[in-house]
């Protein structure tokens, strides 16, 4: 066994290196589905089981294979670095949290909360603009900052129709809000336009799992919009951020005009700003009892329309995304007492393309993932660690971006809803 001390510097390094990325600036932000890994227990895959043998945390049609109720949490640290620039952005947050209850190995029910779109972004104009005003030359610097994002509360269930066929359903309730600060800096202070958008929408996804042969499993899903994502947009009055804190407030000096002299404009409701249509297909082939290779293909098309008043950090958004994943998974041996046999290994390669709506240009990403899982206790508690490194190539104006993700997940398995006789 490797001494644990040898891992410490590596993990510490990773923790310090693990961001806002350019993708956050397109449209409604960076959809979490376009991340390299969405959950430590899943690795690169969504449909194909990699959490445990026959179980994927994000595919309800596989949940009934769990022997115990599972509570799980995955935490993610992300870093984005831009090539040729000493620019690092890193942040961390919840990646996936859920609760899955298998029902007599014939069905299941589950709840989960996951990030849906990350809207955190701070952009500065690459050029300073000069403006002549009454014989004075003003140097104008534009910047844009957006915080917040969209979350999804998922309610899922599965049902085993035949021994080799099961179906699953997930209803994703989208909610969240973002705050946009568009500012123009000149003569010592910024004039800021603040706006807020509150989001809500409902998506539905149907899953199918089919065991074609003893060694080959087929997985598929279709996601449709039940109620398109709507935005409740409130624009605040422009203010001169005299005290430089980014908020419209009193202070020394107070912002101009005084906060109580202005009122927010009427709310505007934007409908249909995001209407995803997604088709996914996964194929898994078991090489032996513990090892499988898998292939996953996904295509997402956003039929939503972003309205003009909603200012976007970058004036474009992703219309169409295609993903291909190829992965190799080694599952733990539940019966073995050997420590090494309790470790699961996930590795894979991913290739993603995103077509922008306005410019029709394509963002390409190639990445690889390596993950380890450790299963312990009889019920099958599990700790997972997953690392993803990706190279994202943007068209024209943006430099190539390197993406790193480190996710740590823990899942606790136990028997729920069982009456125990008191001793």
């Amino acid at each position: 066994m490797w001494p644990i001390k040898q891992f410490i510097p590596l993990i510490l390094c990773s923790s310090l290196l693990v961001g806002q990325g350019t993708m956050n600036a397109f449209g409604l932000g960076h959809f979490y589905e376009n991340q390299g890994i969405t959950s430590a227990g899943n690795g690169l895959n969504d449909l194909v089981p990699t959490f445990q043998s026959n179980v994927s945390l994000s595919n309800p049609s596989t949940w009934h294979h769990l022997k115990f109720t599972h509570l799980f949490l995955s935490y993610s640290g992300d870093e984005n670095s831009i090539s040729d620039l000493p620019l690092l952005n890193r942040y961390s947050g919840l990646a996936h949290a859920g609760w899955i209850v298998p029902i007599k190995s014939k069905g299941s029910f589950g709840l989960a909360i996951v990030p849906y779109a990350d809207q955190r972004i701070t952009l500065a104009d690459s050029d300073t603009t000069s403006f002549i005003a009454f014989e004075d030359t003003l140097n104008l610097v534009n910047s844009f900052a957006r915080t917040g994002g969209i979350m999804a509360f998922k309610v899922g269930a599965s049902y085993l129709i035949r021994e080799n066929l099961s179906v699953g359903l997930s209803v994703d309730m989208l909610f969240g809000s973002s705050r946009q600060n568009e500012s123009i800096f000149f003569n010592g202070s910024s004039i800021i336009q603040t706006s807020r958008t509150k989001y809500s929408g409902v998506l539905g996804e149907v899953f199918i799992s089919l065991a074609l042969q003893e060694k080959i499993n087929l997985f598929a899903s279709v996601k449709q919009t039940i109620r398109s994502l709507n935005g409740l947009y409130t624009e605040k009055y422009l203010f001169d951020d005299a005290n430089g804190n980014g908020f419209h407030d009193y202070g020394s000096p107070s912002d101009f005009p005084l906060p109580d002299s202005v009122s927010a404009k009427d709310e505007i409701r934007f409908t249909g700003i995001h209407k995803p249509e997604q088709y996914s297909l996964g194929l898994q082939s078991n090489l032996n009892k513990k090892t499988s290779i898998s292939f996953e293909l996904r295509s997402i098309k956003d039929k939503g329309k972003l309205p003009d008043p909603l200012t976007l950090p970058i004036n474009d958004w992703i219309r169409h995304s295609n993903d291909i994943n190829l992965s190799l998974t080694r599952f733990p041996n539940d019966l073995s007492l050997d420590l090494v046999d309790k470790i699961s290994v996930r590795m894979g390669l991913a290739f993603k393309t995103h077509t922008l709506a306005q410019t029709k240009t394509i963002i390409r990403e190639i990445g690889g993932s390596l993950g380890l899982g450790f299963k312990f206790r009889v019920a099958g508690n599990q700790i997972d660690l997953n690392y993803y490194l990706g190279k994202r190539k943007f068209p024209d104006t943006f430099n190539t971006e390197f993406v790193q993700q480190l996710q740590i997940g823990i899942s606790l398995a136990d028997l729920w809803f069982v009456k125990r006789r008191q001793k």
Binding site: S15, L87, N89
Partner: protein
């Protein structure tokens, strides 16, 4: 046992990783030309100025004037001394008054008795510091006032023999019974000063607005008091107390008023004030705009104006429907805080920021009824400025830099 050790170590490393995590948020450079904020300018040269006259009141001036300067005459100045319980000491059997002094101060080190004013007292004459004007004192005479004569002049120096101030001290012990008249239920202790000597035709003294007590007009009482220590022992103490003024004012007579429309300017002594009208309303700028700079520039006729003259601009609160230009009291009321602004004239220009008021017009919080332009009360009332609206090189203009969405 081995596996537990491994798990504990792994958990330790995990906690260490989380605690040492540092998020970082650096701006990414991008083309933001699509953003909607833009800087714009607006020049308004549709500005009109008119003047009006108000009977001048110098109640808040830091000086008391007497005499004639620049064609303006100040025939009399008044000082009112406050009521105080010290006045009741006059009736206290344990108190013996030694002297009573009325004191005024000057910054003139060359002042001599022959160039100082006469002091008069009257208990039933009243003035109002903030309202009284020459119109209230037409035909004024001190004939029925108590004449207290000329003061003793004390030129004071500091320890380095440098001049500090000049004291004008009148002995008013002769009118002690009038100052402490208990029969008069409406006793007002009014003093008047008037130039009677011909050695000078103009003097300046310090009013109560000049300092915070030190050189205010005052009455000083000097007395002895017997203080009973025990049944068979008393202690005699020599004391002095000061009673300050409740108000003071110089009554200035502007003489004949020239109401020609070309006489556009400001003067506290003449009571000359101006109205400025600017063509600006709530739709002058694009909706939702924010003003970064709104600068009004008015050219000054330097040949007929004082330099460094402080001017106050106050938006008019209520419109006045009148064609008159001469008034006893100012009919135009200003909004005041927070829109009242002031600035000094410099290099033949009066430049002032109207940003706050104009912004609130665009917000619909205020209405543009014009601006009242007055001279700061601290300006020398014998000086004036005149606007030069016909200046070929500099025109009256309002320059606005604003950001629109």
């Amino acid at each position: 046992m081995k596996s537990r050790f491994f798990i504990m170590n792994l958990l330790g490393v995990f906690i260490l990783s989380i605690s040492s995590w540092q998020c970082e948020d650096n701006p990414i450079e991008a083309d933001l030309s699509h953003l909607s904020l833009s800087v714009n300018t607006l020049s308004i040269d549709s500005i009109s100025v008119s003047s009006y006259w108000v009977a001048p009141n110098l109640g808040s001036n830091e000086r008391l004037y007497l005499g004639t300067k620049n064609g303006l005459e100040v025939p009399v100045a008044f000082v009112g001394i406050s009521d105080h319980f010290y006045w009741d000491y006059y009736f206290d059997s344990t108190v013996t008054f030694d002297s009573l002094h009325f004191i005024l101060y000057s910054n003139d080190s060359l002042l001599t008795q022959s160039s100082t004013p006469n002091l008069y007292f009257k208990s039933d004459s009243q003035f109002n510091e903030s309202k009284s004007t020459y119109l209230d004192f037409e035909g004024f005479t001190t004939a029925d006032w108590e004449d207290l004569g000329l003061p003793i002049v004390n030129v004071n120096t500091d320890t380095n023999a440098l001049f500090t101030h000049t004291e004008l001290v009148w002995d008013i012990m002769s009118i002690d019974s009038m100052l402490m008249d208990t029969v008069d239920s409406n006793l007002i202790r009014n003093f008047a000063i008037q130039l009677t000597n011909r050695d000078t035709n103009f003097i300046e003294l310090l009013s109560r607005e000049a300092t915070s007590g030190e050189k205010d007009p005052k009455v000083k009482m000097y007395f002895r008091q017997n203080i009973e220590v025990s049944e068979d022992s008393t202690f005699r103490d020599t004391l002095n107390v000061t009673i300050y003024s409740f108000g003071d004012i110089s009554i200035i007579d502007p003489g004949s008023i020239n109401t020609e429309s070309t006489n556009l300017g400001l003067s506290n002594g003449i009571g000359l004030r101006s109205l400025v009208s600017i063509s600006f309303d709530s739709v002058s700028l694009l909706e939702g705009s924010l003003i970064r700079k709104a600068q009004l520039t008015l050219p000054i006729d330097t040949s007929a104006s004082s330099e460094g003259y402080n001017i106050i601009v106050d938006p008019i609160d209520e419109s006045v429907d009148t064609a008159d230009v001469v008034f006893e009291t100012d009919p135009y009321t200003g909004i005041g805080y927070p829109y009242r602004v002031s600035s000094d004239t410099e290099d033949g220009l009066f430049i002032i920021s109207l940003k706050s008021f104009l912004q609130n017009i665009t917000l619909g919080n205020e209405t543009n009824l014009g601006f009242k332009v007055v001279a700061n009360e601290k300006n020398d009332p014998f000086e004036s400025i005149h606007f030069d609206l016909e200046n070929e090189s500099v025109k009256p203009i309002l320059e606005i830099i604003y950001v629109a969405n």
